[in-house]
């Protein structure tokens, strides 16, 4: 269970990205965070990834406050997350396989087990045949799928994605969202920041709507039309 309690984030310079935000996401739920540009979607995900810390309020997961995680504990926290970025954040000098393998290497997984899991993740996103290629040789959509494979390979308890379909054509975007839906079905909590309203409506999942850092609507799946 992710719990935001009166969370605010004010950046240096005074810009308030989030203001007194309170909501909960039960374990195993998939939810979209949407809103216009500058609404605070990315900031919300950054707070979950401990890339930023809230100025006020508390964020907790399964009852544990993220504020108690010290700087030295951040890597361990991030190893429980899967993060997908709009710009993929792939290592261009390493092969597709090596990119996906990265969280497992960091997590200290033995080599044979790593190979097994990487291939399973690549098969899942349909890129097993590309494992020896460099990301630069792949299309944008394929690169995004490599990023997703990397995010899921360590079996995270929480998957967060920031505009994962931003650069993709509509058909591919639907397929990617379908993948996230599958991860939810196997018990992973999925939180996706997106401003693609038609796609969000099509997925029929919970939607948290932000505007200027404030929560303006929290729609259950059945309320999304």
């Amino acid at each position: 269970m992710i719990h935001f309690d009166q969370v605010s984030k004010r950046y240096e310079g005074g810009h308030e990205a989030l203001s007194q935000l309170s909501f909960e996401v039960p374990t195993g739920e998939m939810a979209f965070v949407t809103g216009h540009s500058g609404a605070g979607k990315s900031t919300l995900l950054k707070l979950l990834g401990l890339i930023e810390r809230p100025s006020h309020g508390t964020i907790s997961m399964d009852g544990k406050s993220l504020a108690k995680i010290r700087r030295s504990g951040i890597p361990k926290w991030r190893r429980q997350l899967g993060m997908v970025f709009q710009d993929h954040r792939l290592l261009m000098e390493r092969t597709v396989f090596a990119n996906v393998e990265l969280p497992l290497v960091i997590g200290g997984i033995a080599k044979p087990e790593r190979a097994r899991r990487v291939r399973a993740a690549l098969e899942k996103v349909g890129l097993l045949a590309y494992e020896r290629q460099l990301p630069a040789t792949l299309s944008t959509g394929e690169q995004q799928r490599v990023g997703i494979a990397r995010a899921i390979v360590a079996r995270p308890t929480l998957l967060i994605a920031d505009e994962p379909t931003g650069n993709l054509d509509p058909q591919l975007a639907v397929e990617i969202m379908g993948l996230f839906g599958e991860f939810q079905q196997i018990g992973t909590t999925v939180l996706i920041a997106s401003h693609d309203l038609p796609l969000i409506k099509r997925m029929k999942k919970r939607v948290i709507v932000l505007d200027h850092g404030r929560l303006v609507a929290d729609l259950a799946a059945q309320e999304v039309l």
Partner: protein, 327 residues
Amino acid sequence: MNTPSEAIHAPAPEAAPRNEHTRGRRLGSWREHHGWSAAASLRRLASRPLGTLLTVAVMGLALALPLAFYLLLGNVQKLGNALGQSQAISVFMQPGQTAQQAQMLAQQLGGRPEVAAVVVKTPQQGMDELAKMQGFSGAVQTLDDNPLPYVLQLQPRAEATAGALEQLVADVRTMRSVELVQDSGSWRQRLDALLGVGNRVVLVLASLLALAALLVVGNTVRVDIASRSEEIGVLLLVGASSAFVRRPYLYAGIWYGLFSGILAALLAVLIEFALAGPVAQLSQAYDGKLHVGGLPLWLLLAVPLAAAALGWLGARLVSAWQLRKLG
């Protein structure tokens, strides 16, 4: 794109992800990452040969300089010792002392640890030597009696310190049977003092140049980290610890240090060879008593290791600072 969800679920025989590795597996993975980091950093160095060569050359020269001074000082010390062997202390006895008294004093002084040998010169031997000297033969012939005393020539041991010899001279001067002591070894004191200054200069120089080498490695690693800030950002986002991210850069520092240490040791050996010819000529001038002294093997082996440690330290300090900025 494949759709079956079992693709992700299938390879998951273990119940909880965080409890699935044994300590042994983690250790194996840790070792594996060390191996990977060492090899990857070496490949990075090889991928930009000119930059690597320049860095190693600058560090190697910086480390070779104190070694060269150390070599020079060692040989000056040896030269001093070689010259010391030909410098005797002359003890002039009181006039009228007998041969027996001269032999007794010679035995007494010969028993001292800092004295290698004692040669007794009779007044007649002294007169003969004087007669052989140009311009003195006529004057010697005019003398009715031999006014020269017995003279003892003390040969100091090569390893005798300047302090010990000074004490010997002071002791002999207080003896009643002794008229005069001619100490030709005072130059040793000056040489020892100069060598002391030289040793200190070498120490200061070595410290400063080691600091310079540390800064060279630090700056190289800083540039390397800055050029890979994006990659480091990704690693941190997927849960890499600072130690994990830092490891390849620490190995890079070790390689830079090791290679420059090897270069410095090779340069020192080259300098040794370059000195060998002139020193051999100098040795001939001193009856072959002077031998060129090279750097000891332990030092030649220790220099690359110490340089590797220096490289590691430089990389460690800079990477910690850089990663704090990035993280």
